[in-house]
Amino acid sequence: MGSGLFEQFRRWYEERHEYARAWKARTGGMVAATMCTYTPEEVLIAAGMLPVRVLGAHEPQNVAEPHLFGMFCPFCRDTLAQGLLGRYDYCDGVTLTQSCIQYRQSFHSWREHVPSAWNYYLPMPNEVQSRHARLLHYSEVKKFRRFIEGVIAKPISDAALNGAIAVINENRRLLRQLYDYRKETNPRVTGVEALYASITAQFVDKEEHNRELQRVLDELPGLVNDRAAGVRCITIGAENDDIAFMAMVESLGATIVIDDQCSGTRYFWNEARVQEDPIATIADRYCERPACPTKDYPLHTRFDHVLKLCRDYGASAGFFLQQKFCDPHEGDYPDLKKHLDANGIPTLLLEFDITNALGPFRTRIEAFLETLGEEELF
């Protein structure tokens, strides 16, 4: 972050609640709390809403426990806690598109205990590889559109949907362009900077976010970079917005050059293929995106996708950022690790909780990086 180029993204990240409140005051629009990156944001944006993905605060809390059994993932508990603590009190409604069972609990407890004018559960098919999934998802996105039309008490036109598709596609395209800089020998965009840019896309007005991305992209070619990449790494896992962790890794002679996480590439990787029917455009896009492990069966499409990311971005090592109790990722872990090992990508498993002890992580990461350097210790 030495260049200051990503300062706006950092501010948005750190002041996300203030940003959403100001957006609401400025536009008079509704804010929708979203709980998974499978949410068809296009519908919300076409309705004039601001989709805001609920994130945790990475601080100890004691309000979620009466609602969520402690054996469920820390991200679910942390996000629910934010709702219970009233930190998203500016949101008019809440929606979850079906992915893992863990996340559903946060949604159900939220709609039960956090005041919201509306809520919507979108049961997206899980077996997106099935040839029948798109047809069902089409029907579900259509229903979601009708529901949101009811919320705003007016129809959402196809033109508005196409406009939203175009804005979000541009956002995806710009983020991909930004990520291309991470392929450089000495990347001009660090993992921390990329995270600020990608995570803020999940709660900042897309047009505003696009303008800022474009500004950064315009300035990046002139940026002089004297930072050596060191060990080039990929991060793999569910949600991760632990900036302090990312910064710590990148202070140890490593650069995170790519990720397979829903806070990063899984959110924006593929553009929607524009079709005549905007609902089909939207529904198909979410069936075609890089899969969360919950939706990745019978084939493990993730495995080769992750390997390709490593190849394309020159990652020679990886960190599994495993949210404790996250079953879908835990279920994939040993076989994905084996796949990466077999292709020359060593990995380190780190178990994440709501708060993470950076000291012990640092020791393990230093040791891991040392083993990769094959330096003689004695």
Binding site: E65, P66, S109, E112, Y121, E127, D327
Partner: protein, 438 residues
């Protein structure tokens, strides 16, 4: 000194037969290939009737009952769990799944010999662990797999598109089984299997309704040995026929006032799978005169229910009972999908409040005095929303306690602590142990 029994009691006459059927099932699976038969693996919620349509020599091995059976054999269970962990699987994953994987990797079958590899795996997916379970197993075993995604939402919200999605997958699944077995689907056999499954799961619900009687003719510990047959092979003729026999016997017990627990003074309902290696906690309850009459888990894991025209929650009426003739494959699959989507234990995956309401119904209709929730670290699927269930029951004024444990991993169960919590709960219900009460 035990207090005098308040009610007559006697063992179930069909007990031995239930055990024999279970043993036969595991033997049949292991020996299937001796006579050219076929083996398939899946979870207990798979659409059992599909493979059953391919012959009487097609034998399933359902993963959860297998995991539970292993869990009861504590030494082997530990060996399996440690094997799965040594491969890199997290200790907090589904205990049944880890046991199954461990058994497969160790190449050891609980009932002796090497693990009998299935010819194919045929799974449903409603819980995140379901697909992961058989993806890994299939890859390791080198066998083909097929999944039916049933995560389409709660039954109350089912519409044509959702039903079509499940039915279309069932059609595909028939083509899959044809492809991997080289056999043709026999539609007459398919219809019979679908009808058998409906009969079996409706009969089981009917058996459970008999436990409304005071004294309860069945205690939950015994029910575990009966309901499991539907989890093993619910579309089989033998399962449906056996449940008819059980129904007749339980009706007879009710008519004669035969109690499962002779000193019944209090009726408890549990929740989720118990810690299988510690079923003695149910005996501990009996010392207080408390009988566990069942649970939404025992009633609805395989039992199929509906709100009947008289407003009572009861066994779902089968198409045969409603005078609907099944004459084609598509009709059979449509009715079959609808039947399964109404399963009580699939509803909380989409909204815990549905489960809370069903639990309150059981409390009311089965005259339950208190609820004992097992916060089961071994099963994410059935522990889903469990804290909201607890809050909902408490808000309704129903006494409720929780204890933490694991259905299949004894390292996560503290028997002494669980019993202490039960003791406190019994005290709040004004119950004393028999040696004190006497």
């Amino acid at each position: 000194m035990a207090a005098a029994a308040r009610y007559p009691t006697e063992p179930l006459k069909l007990w031995r037969k239930a055990k024999a059927l279970r043993e036969q099932y595991y033997r049949n699976y292991a020996r299937a290939r001796e006579n050219g038969g076929i083996r398939w693996g899946a979870a207990g919620w798979s659409f059992d009737a599909i493979p059953t349509a391919f012959g009487d020599d097609v034998y399933p091995l359902t993963g959860e009952p297998y995991g539970a059976a292993v869990a009861h054999e504590r030494k082997f269970a530990k060996e399996c769990l440690e094997k799965a962990e040594s491969i890199g699987f997290a200790r907090d994953l589904c205990a049944y799944m880890r046991i199954y994987w461990g058994s497969v990797h160790l190449n050891k079958y609980l009932f002796g010999g090497p693990f009998p590899k299935p010819d194919f795996n045929f799974q449903t997916q409603i819980c995140c662990s379901h697909a992961k379970w058989y993806q890994h197993a299939s890859a390791f075993e080198g066998v083909p797999d097929f999944y039916v995604d049933v995560s389409v939402g709660a039954y109350r919200d089912i519409d044509q598109a959702k039903l079509d999605y499940v039915v279309a997958q069932l059609h595909d699944s028939i083509a899959f089984v044809e492809g991997v077995t080289g056999r043709r689907c026999d539609d007459e056999r398919l219809i019979r299997a679908v009808q058998n499954e409906m009969r079996a799961t409706s009969l089981w619900a009917e058996i459970c309704t008999l436990n409304k009687a005071v004294p309860a003719p069945l205690d939950e510990k015994s029910m575990y040995s009966l309901y499991v047959l539907a989890v093993l092979h619910k579309s089989s003729q033998w399962c449906a026929d056996f449940y008819q026999e059980v129904l007749d016997e339980v009706k007879d017990r009710v008519a004669r006032g035969i109690a499962a627990v002779g000193n019944e003074r209090c009726r408890i309902m549990s929740d989720t799978q118990p810690p299988w290696a510690f079923l003695k906690i149910f005996r501990h309850l009996e010392e207080y005169g408390a009988v566990s009459i069942g649970s939404l888990y025992t009633f609805g894991l395989e039992g199929t229910w509906e709100v009947l025209p008289n407003g009572v929650w009861g066994p779902r009426r089968t198409p045969v009972q409603l005078g609907i003739a099944i004459t084609s494959r598509d009709q059979a699959l449509r009715l079959y999908a609808d039947w399964n989507l109404s399963k009580p234990l699939w509803q909380h995956f989409f909204d815990p409040s549905i489960k809370t309401e069903l639990m309150k119904t059981i409390v009311r209709d089965w005259a339950v005095d208190g609820v004992m929730i097992h916060m089961n670290r071994g099963c994410e699927g059935l522990s889903l929303g469990i804290m909201e269930n607890r809050l909902g029951l408490a808000a309704a004024g129903i006494p409720v306690m929780t204890y933490e444990g694991n259905m299949g991993d004894e390292r996560e169960f503290d028997q002494g602590r669980a019993q202490s919590r039960i003791d406190s709960f019994m005290e709040t219900l004004n119950l004393k142990r028999d040696f004190v009460a006497a």
